[in-house]
């Protein structure tokens, strides 16, 4: 009976729960789903991470290649993030060119990398004007259950922290690179941004870490990216129903608390790997 009601009138079904301050999956309105992080399992990649946020599963692999720098930025390397939503991740995705959600999330990842300064493009330079590193950070969503942005940012940062680049020097005379495959230098990650997303349902109720069902009901989605210093990096609210200033402040507060949890999780994962 409940299953049929849910199918036919999802919004009314949700209202009944939200009135009592709970969601159908048992969470409180500001609670996050169980987060699992696994790093370094893909050895063909220079750095990798797997993140499970509830049922949303994403894998990020970092591949480093060499290239000539842009003429207008001879001392800068490249960081190229991309998010892929293959047809396997959900029944609504089909094979073919990237869906709108994938393109939007890719752009968000690029903004996070650029504006948080997590990887310094100058440090990716091997020889000024001649040789730089290109870090291809490909995030593949294996299972989609809402809140892609958060999972992708966690996976990206964990993979970058896990990345080890081979030592490369450029021979001045022959102009060819000399690569020492046995020496691996960890990538310098200078800051650790964390994204937190919220969905506005029923034009008033704010839900943290929405799943796919809640996203389908949402009238607005807000993503807040914060840094360790407690500073705001990005606030992304692309239209949708307006929210009060107090609600926005509450989002930011929750984001800062959540960011601490994620950084702690990443630290524990990294230490357990080193042991």
């Amino acid at each position: 009976m409940a299953a049929q009601f849910k199918r036919i009138q999802l919004d009314a079904y949700y209202s009944k729960y939200l009135q009592r301050g709970r969601r159908p999956d048992g969470r409180a309105l500001d609670a996050f789903r169980k987060t699992i992080l696994n790093v370094g399992s893909i050895r063909t990649a220079d750095g990798s991470a797997l993140v499970r946020l509830g049922n949303t599963t994403v894998v990020c692999g970092v591949k480093a290649e060499l290239a000539a720098p842009r003429p207008d930025a001879p001392t800068k390397g490249y960081v190229v993030p991309n998010v892929e939503l293959p047809a396997m991740c959900g029944p609504d995705f089909r094979p073919g060119p990237p869906a709108e959600l994938a393109q939007v999330t890719s752009q968000l990842m690029l903004d996070v990398v650029r504006h948080s300064g997590c990887v310094s493009e100058e440090r990716l330079c091997v020889a000024d004007g001649e040789l730089v590193w290109v870090l291809y950070c490909d995030v593949v969503c294996l299972a989609y259950d809402g809140n892609l942005a958060d999972a992708c940012v966690v996976a990206l940062l964990a993979a970058l922290t896990n990345t080890r680049l081979p030592a490369v020097t450029l021979d001045d005379e022959t102009k060819r690179e000399r690569v020492d495959a046995d020496v691996r230098v960890p990538l310098d990650v200078l800051s650790y941004p964390v994204a937190t997303s919220f969905a506005v349902v029923d034009e008033r109720v704010l839900l943290a870490d929405p799943n796919a069902e809640e996203e389908s009901l949402a009238t607005a989605v807000v993503t807040v990216v914060t840094l360790e210093s407690g500073q705001l990096c990005i606030v992304h609210k692309p239209g949708g129903s307006p929210i009060a200033l107090e609600e926005m402040e509450r989002c930011i507060e929750l984001s800062l608390a959540r960011a601490k949890q994620i950084r702690q999780l990443e630290k524990e994962t990294r230490l357990s790997l080193e042991r």
Partner: protein, 288 residues
């Protein structure tokens, strides 16, 4: 390379730092004590791990690990036809195979290249005979396989994973499809080759002018209960006798893998039954 407007692009020309080393250096076959590079004997298969039900929104899904080779598969369907074509008394199966960009030593492109398209075709042709297509007329079943890390025998992993996912989805099948690969080089037959063994190998003691007569890779898809081969892919130069011997080795390998597949499916069924029982127990409580 044409500019891909829908993705974030890096510079036009990039190269892998170890490209000269990776493509030029041949690899030794055996260590000094006669075992392979990873310590296995010639006919030993790598340890495997399989799990069903890893993607919640898919009808059926499976994940397989053959030591470092990792593949994941999702099955959706039976659902509506992609294109509204004429009525068809048999259902349709589509298959998409993809290597993740970071799965191989040299980064792969995001679009499907020729090798991936070929593997998609092989998967489709090898899995179709096992599925009861007449049970879902006018409908389509989609199989999506992605290899997350390629350390050799990726096609075999994909085939086995695909058939596990189909079974997990509850699609009616005549039999499971199990796959195994074998590499033949210089009179040695290596079962379940790793990535370094699949590439060019240099045996000790032969000069570079003398190329060994028989070298090649064979992947076989096998249906254990029906004792039939829905698929076979052979590359390289081999005599008929060697090919037959390699086929037998593959079938033997498949028979060794089959019990693990049965166990994995049983575990998945147990888990599903538990979930249903919990739901039924809840319903009973509400009624009483």
């Amino acid at each position: 390379m044409p500019v891909d407007r829908m993705r974030i692009c890096g510079p036009e020309e990039t190269r892998h730092p170890l490209v000269l080393e990776l493509c030029g250096r041949p690899v030794r076959l055996f260590q000094d004590d006669g075992t392979r590079l990873d310590g296995r004997s010639a006919d030993q298969i790598r340890p495997m791990f399989m799990k069903c039900g890893v993607i919640s929104h898919a009808q059926g899904s499976a994940y397989i690990e053959m030591d470092r080779t990792k593949a994941i598969c999702a099955v959706y369907g039976p659902r509506e036809f992609g294109k509204r074509e004429d009525f068809s008394i048999k259902g349709r199966l589509t298959c998409e195979f993809k290597f993740a960009t970071f799965s191989c030593k040299i980064r792969r492109q995001q679009q499907q290249d020729a090798e991936e398209k070929e593997f998609s075709q092989i998967l489709l042709q090898s899995l179709s005979p096992a599925v009861c297509l007449h049970k879902f007329p006018k409908a389509q079943v989609d199989i999506y396989v992605m290899v997350l890390e390629n350390d050799g025998s990726a096609l075999s992993a994909a085939l086995t994973c695909g058939s596990l996912a189909l079974a997990d989805a509850g699609i009616e099948m005549y039999d499971m499809v199990v796959a195994c690969s074998v590499k033949h080089y210089c009179k040695s037959t290596l079962m379940d080759p790793s990535a370094s063994e699949e590439s060019e190998l240099e045996p000790e003691g032969t000069s570079t002018e003398e190329k060994p007569a028989e070298t090649g890779l064979l992947t076989v898809a096998y249906m254990p209960s029906l004792n039939q081969l829905p698929g076979m892919l052979q590359t390289g130069e081999m005599s008929i006798a060697t090919t037959k011997q390699m086929m037998k080795a593959c079938i033997d390998g498949c028979n060794r893998i089959y019990p693990l597949i049965q166990q994995t499916l049983m575990k998945s069924v147990e888990r599903k039954l538990k979930a249903v029982n919990l739901y039924n127990a809840d319903q009973e409580e509400k009624v009483s």
